[in-house]
Amino acid sequence: MAVVDHGYTCVAHRCKDPAVPHSLCWGAMRLPRPRGPLSALTATSLISAVGPSTDRFLVELDGLAPSCDVIVNDDFQLSLWMLYELHYRGFDDVDPELEWDPRVLACRRLLERRFEHELRFRTEAPAQKARKQAHQVQNQQPADTLAQQLGWLIEHMEGPRLAPYLQREATREEMLEFLAVRSVYHLKESDPHSFVLPRLDGGAKVALAELQYDEYGAGRVPRLHQTLYGDALEAAGLDRSYGAYVEHTPGSTLATSNVMSLLCLHQRHRGAALGHLAAFEATSSAPCRKIAAGIDRLGFPDAVAAYWREHVEADAVHEQVAIRDLCGRLVTDAPRLHDDVLFGAACCLYLDALAATHLLDGWQAGRRTPVGAGR
């Protein structure tokens, strides 16, 4: 297979030879710089290829202040991100054998338990209220009840006004920071959900495969959504390499990506994984249109807004397919997964709102993370 050389040098992977074209180290990245004792322990144990010890992990975990909010904690979320990334593209400087090393998995489990516990606690109240929405209609089909409850959650857990801010007020630097930190997910867009396919049956599987096929370009390589995002980054003068901006990304945004790995890598969370996807797709179309308008306002090249424009249309379709066909068929076939779907949807809405608040608050307080603009 011919390797396409995009003609720019690799920054993210910190190749030993800085002149190495990005294409020659495609897919590989190096571990990010740690952001605290937990991520330092994670990184050193991954590099040394002996795997971390759960005892030391527990010590560091307990060392986080009791009041520590693991959901927004940079150190915690970066550690979890590194451990999850072994299941995606891996790291240049980590032995790929560690992906299934029992010690690595045991440490990941410790972090996941804390993360999941916290998510359950934070989403319990809205999920409970959503469940009450059903009792008003008699003989309702399970799929319709679910659609109604998902609609309630989406309406009542709406995040702060990040998209309108990006549309009308954001500066060029703020928009670049937004594009950069979002790349942590969008450069592997839809990949977490591919792990869910073999965990589904029948109608829900068909619906997810239909969504994924569209996300993966519907048979056309340049239309792969991950590639479209890379094109957008490049057109904005940013680095399109996978993982390039992980070190700039706040814990709250890492959490939005980590939650998908949490839900999609566990068979028992398949219902929640689909609920997350439905909420994600259903809150995408209108914001994408606003973000595209903001990008145009700031005078970026057309390729930057093209990614967001594609999602206005795509996600209007995906929203219907995800709520009705995907989640609807799932709960029709497996009613016991109903609450899991709501849990996943609430996780998505809660974390998206938190990440948006964090970005907006930071900008309002004059906190900016320069991501470099233009090569």
Partner: protein
Amino acid sequence: MTSPVRPGTGTPRGRSVQVEPCPEGPVLVRGAEVVLDADGHEHEVTRPVVALCTCGRTQRDPWCDGTHKFVRD
């Protein structure tokens, strides 16, 4: 105001077009190759399933762009 759709012919058995209306939303169409809008213009179908606007408020006619949700309220 559902637009006429023309089935795709590229598949072995000449596949059928499936139409699925969404309550208070668009119509999902699978298996079409081309959609004709009210003015007779052809729009190529480039994704496995498309959503056709039925509320008349979309800014990306004939495709639904999610605007119907805000119209309803």
